[in-house]
């Protein structure tokens, strides 16, 4: 009964209701504008919500996350430019549909299946998270250490880059996360005698730099690309069309939940896997895949929105982010004095049910905003980059300044932005750096606790991974992730195929 009360909190409070609606609306439009990612939006917003009450911040972020994942599909359909990585698969059939003059119908169908996927993800979160959390109470510090390493590895390797570069970025983030006074002994670590660095490096400034400024710089490099205009008329899909694709939507939503719940694998991988499944399992698509098949829209869009609920599961129960956005949300929870992990569900169950309620509400707003305001939307998507990019930079500067009212954070943000630009250009992933920065202090603490309990003996520390079944399973998963990314394994797999 109490859970229901917390669930309905954002529905009953007009202020929270407004924030969820505003977040969803902003998420759709931010996610739809090429170059503006949902990670960027959440990163910038977090710095503004420091002084807010935690519920208000979470309501806004829930809306932005769900809206942003969906919003990416619109520019993929209209311009063939995915607004977010999760919409890459959507453009494969969405854009051919738009070229046939069916952009409105494609957007309408995408909206409905995204909402269906969203609900499947939220139901999975509500059912699975309490059970996972209870199980996670059995985890020892070494298990947390291994889980964090696994999360960083997955983000670095599954998102398409090379394993060595992924590990490099994760380790770099971990190292940056340890800068400052040691929390146990107060010894200065990598501070170079600077008072400013003694307090540590703000990961919010780094997030805004990596996801905001670096992205703007990448866009600046490609300023000459021109947008294509599309005509959008009828948007509401017929009930018959929805009913026809409901089974496929539910099937691919379940893929989305599972992939989203894997630490490190987000909506982009879920969408691509769902598209692949649809391509192989649908015998008679409405049109050939890649030429405007409705099935090619339904599968990735159901999966990427279902992955949102899935991604919340490891975040809420283990403190391990499911993808880059949940990594940023973990940062927000820390800022508000909360520690995501199994104890979060025990100590603050209301927060869990509040998030589930806010996500459900945001999903309903998604249906409303997704099926309306299309004219305003087409105008916004066509905003020239020369106007848009300076505005984003001003927002980044305000966001970084708002952390401590300190201009040093703004300079750091710019430094991270320029560094992030070169990382992106040369094929490094920036998400593992952020993940490493957030998880670094937890990993450091877990490593030292595990070492102390092993009597400061590395041999004893290593042997505990084989004496505890849970630790052995996590270690095996970690080892498999590393091995499966090696060239030898890939060669063996291709020989098998």
């Amino acid at each position: 009964m109490q859970a229901l009360e917390y669930f309905l909190m954002s529905w009953a409070d007009p202020y929270l209701l407004f924030l969820t609606a505003a977040g969803t609306f902003a998420g759709i439009y931010i996610g739809a504008i090429p170059g503006l990612s949902v990670t960027m939006a959440v990163s910038i917003l977090i710095s503004f919500t420091f002084k807010w009450e935690v519920n208000a911040a979470l309501a806004l972020i829930s809306g932005i996350f769900l809206g942003g994942v969906y919003g990416g599909s619109r520019s993929a359909i209209l311009l063939n430019i995915p607004g977010a990585p999760a919409a890459i698969a959507t453009g494969l059939d969405g854009y051919p549909l738009a070229k046939r003059g069916e952009a409105g119908m494609a957007i309408g169908l995408t909206t409905v299946v995204s909402v269906i996927g969203g609900f499947v993800g939220i139901i999975a979160l509500a059912v699975a998270a309490p059970a996972v959390s209870e199980f996670a109470l059995k985890f020892a510090p070494r298990d947390y250490l291994m889980l964090a390493v696994w999360g960083i590895l997955l983000v670095g390797s599954l998102s398409g880059g090379s394993l060595a570069k992924g590990i490099f970025c994760g380790a770099l983030g971990v190292l940056i996360g340890t800068v400052g006074l040691d929390p146990m002994t107060a010894e200065p670590r990598l501070t170079f005698g600077s008072l400013q660095l003694s307090a540590g490096i703000s990961y919010v400034a780094a997030m805004i730099g990596f996801f905001g400024v670096a992205e703007v710089l990448v866009q600046l490099r490609e300023l000459r690309q021109k947008a294509v205009r599309q005509d959008v008329s009828k948007i509401l899909p017929s009930w018959g069309l929805v009913r026809k694709y409901l089974p496929l939507s539910l099937r691919t939503s379940s893929i989305g939940v599972v992939i989203g719940a894997l630490p490190g694998a987000g909506g982009d991988i879920a969408a691509l896997m769902a598209y692949d499944l649809a391509k192989r399992s649908v015998k008679n698509p409405s049109r050939p895949f890649g030429q405007g098949a409705y099935e090619g829209l339904v599968a990735p869009e159901s999966a990427n929105n279902a992955a949102v609920g899935g991604a919340y599961i490891p975040m809420m129960t283990l403190g391990i982010p499911g993808d880059a956005v949940t990594a940023v949300i973990i940062g927000a929870l820390y800022i508000h004095g909360l520690k995501p992990g199994p104890m979060l569900m025990v100590e603050t169950p209301h927060l869990f049910w509040f998030i589930v309620g806010s996500l459900t509400l945001a999903n309903l707003f998604l249906l409303v905003f997704g099926l309306s305001g299309i004219r305003l939307f087409t105008k916004m998507v066509e905003t020239p980059k020369a106007i848009l990019l300076p505005l984003i930079l001003v927002l980044c500067a305000v966001g970084a300044y708002a952390i401590n009212n300190n201009p040093v954070d703004v300079y750091m943000m710019l430094g991270f932005g320029v560094f992030g630009y070169f990382l992106k250009i040369y094929g490094y992933q920036v998400a593992p750096v952020i993940l490493g920065m957030i998880l670094g202090p937890l990993m450091d603490k877990s490593f030292r606790q595990a070492m102390i309990s092993a009597g400061d003996s590395p041999a004893q520390f290593a042997s505990e991974f084989f004496t505890s079944p849970l630790s052995a399973v996590i270690l095996a998963a970690l080892a498999f992730t590393v091995v499966s990314q090696t060239t030898a394994w890939k060669r063996w797999r291709s020989r098998q195929a």
Partner: protein
Amino acid sequence: MSNQDARKPGEVTFTVLMLVGSAFLLWQSFGISGFQSWSSAGMFPMLAAATLLVTGLLTVRHLLRRPAAPDSGARAFFAQIAPLQLLGGVGAVAAYMLMLQPLGFLPSSLLFLFLSMRLFGSERWGLNLSVSVASLAAIHLVFSTVFSVVLPKGSWLVALLPI
């Protein structure tokens, strides 16, 4: 070998710089508490820095196995990786951020928005000015009232007109 596999201009220099940085960070991490004990303050940063160094070496090895791009000199770097509009953009942002504190949020942002829109290719002065003024008014209103963000007033402005 496809052209996609070719090294990008400046990629070797960047990767080697990262490698040198990793070695420096490993040295600095060692300096925290040496090999005092496995649970000492410096051990975890040392492990992270060693990981950086090893993966950095692997990346350099992999990179050197790939063919160099046909045109990979300084000219190619400035044409493909750091073109003029990008350097101009970084310069404008750096100048804006440096002026934020002395000039204050509103004047420095207005100047930055107006000039950078032109720099990035929008030639309609009237539109640039009206968008800059309107968006700044909205940002100032939203962030100082809804988000309670204290924006810099400008030390020069405060010195001139004590408010």
